[in-house]
Amino acid sequence: MRPYWLSTLPLAAAAVIYIGRRQRILVIGLGLATILTCVDISLELPLDEVTFFLGQQWTLDQGAQALLVLVYVTTAILLAIAATTEQVESFCAPAVASAGLLSAVILLHSLLLSFVLLPMALVVLVLAAYPSPPSAVRGASRFLAWITLPILCLPVAFELLERFALLPDELAWASLAALLVVPPMIIWLTLFPFHGITRLWAEGAPPLAPAFLWVVKDWVVIWLLLALWRRTPALYTESAIAILGIAGLVTAVVSGILALVQSSPSAVLACAAMSELGIALQGVTAGSVNGLEGGLFLLISRSAAVLLASSALAAIHGSAARETESSANPFRWRRLVALVAFAVGVLALAGMPPLGGFVGRRHIYAALRAEEPYLFLAWLSASAGIVLGLVRAVLSLWNTKVQSSSGRARDLLFPLLVCLLVLCVWIALHPQATVSLIPGSLRHLPPLSPL
């Protein structure tokens, strides 16, 4: 086995799944089997061994291995959630293909090629846009409009750096190169003012494609950003991290407050996920190892919370259909369990103690060394918006009848819900053990560039 198998295998499987997408069993079975095989391959492959394929170097280091396992496991959970919804036919092939392309992004030694491949992996995911509700198509359209635009920024930044290497007196080129990295990161992480894109895409249905963006894409983009800074320390400047930190703060506050006015539970989840990402980015750009660890911890906790809340929303749609079919049981216990799970997931994203979001925020707050209470108040306002939005969403979910045509597979969601709930609580109770799961190579930053 070679590292490039992790890219070619999902791409080939995605093509087969797309052709046979009318066969539900084939779609789910092949999708899950492919992703689980990829987990196995990524754990079996030797570390730090260089392989050549298509004229490029492919390597798997410890950090890349951990990230790949995270990507595959979260994709497998999303496929399992999708299996209980109507969206399975449209979601599986793009998700598997996107996972394959993201594997190439992680494994390729050339960062320039990785940055060219990243928009491709995201464009593929647009194929998972589901016609219902219409806002999802509008959200996917906006996503398509923005993600490909910054593709030229990074080659230009690399070119400027090469010129700077030839003429070290031209400091302006290096500063410009460092700043050119910022707009693509803001767009690819859909930070403010693009934070509404995934919310629009998520509205009105169990958010599968948006959840993939939150739990897989965001990790890969942040990993690429850290890899870029580590390999080219000249790009790790104070101005670049300050702009990204401010973008994170504004995203956190605006998304959190916007959760208050959302009518759809999926939109509340989207706002909470974006708000949490903003705070995690503040940690990553804090300029210290403690801040970085806090940011990465928050990203892990966010992934678990997003998966929990997404599976709960899928279960609510399924349980509502079941209770509509047979109204023998007057107490809607399935919906109650799912609602509790949804609430726990969103509360974790809102930073409610003692859940993971709170623990991560505490680390980042300490790393940022904020002397005035403004930062605390900003985060608090975001959390308050999310909590109030959650109350509104839970009440509407309890009273609304949702129709779904999914089959018996929805019963499988409840064990998955319980497992994710346990995982969320475990992360909150064992923050040190969670942080120790992050490989040392990911928890390392170069010194700030003097530019």
Binding site: V126, P134, L144
Partner: protein, 215 residues
């Protein structure tokens, strides 16, 4: 054939650049999707012709394959939608109408032309010829205008591809790598696929809405 293409593809050919401007303006102004797709293909064909002399043979082949693949994807989508429309003629099957009138979009095209011309005149873009700079500027500005005025996923896709065409000319002048060029071409086909999928999804959503309304 080849010598004709070589002479045509010279950046001194003002007819081609004028054709590019006309196609871009049509792409921006018309509301009919089929006409917009046709205008985009003519525009892409002109870009391929313009690049003919300055890029190597494998890159030309990739351009042609990408163009053919995009044409195939768009044609199949339109054919399927037309068949669905014949079977079930619903007014709701029309895509969400653009929020702007054709007059406004014509004015936007004129503004885009002015901006592209202004860019060439005022900025030192370090490009070999003013015609090249104008072509790049027009495609980029027009792509952004199409994106900002897009009322549907298909228009968004065409805007992205127009913007990418402008960037592609720039990249062609900067020692293009075969692999990056190939990946970029694949990305173009994926964008076309995604745009066509969004168009189908919009039509399906409009169909669901009208069915739901009748029930």
């Amino acid at each position: 054939m080849l010598p004709t293409l070589l002479s045509l593809s010279s950046f001194h050919a003002p007819q081609l650049v004028a054709g590019l401007v006309v196609c871009g303006a049509v792409l921006l102004i018309v509301s009919d999707h089929r006409l917009a797709i046709l205008a985009f293909f003519v525009q892409r064909l002109i870009v391929v012709t313009l690049l003919w002399a300055i890029i190597e043979a494998p890159l030309r082949v990739m351009n042609i394959i990408a163009l053919a693949a995009i044409a195939l994807v768009c044609h199949i989508t339109e054919w399927r939608l037309r068949r669905a429309e014949i079977r079930e003629p619903l007014h709701a099957h029309q895509a969400r109408p653009s929020l702007t009138s054709p007059l406004f979009r014509a004015l936007a095209a004129a503004l885009g032309l002015l901006v592209a011309y202004g860019l060439v005149q005022t900025c030192n873009l370090a490009l070999p010829l003013p015609m090249v700079a104008f072509t790049v500027g027009w495609l980029v500005v027009n792509g952004l205008l199409i994106l900002s005025l897009a009322g549907s996923g298909l228009r968004t896709g065409l805007g992205v591809l127009t913007f990418a065409d402008g960037c592609r000319i720039l990249y062609a002048l900067w020692q293009p790598s075969l692999l990056v060029w190939g990946l970029w071409s694949v990305c173009d086909v994926l964008v076309a696929l995604a745009a066509c999928h969004l168009r189908s999804a919009e039509v399906a959503a409009a169909g669901n809405k009208s069915t739901g309304g009748r029930e």
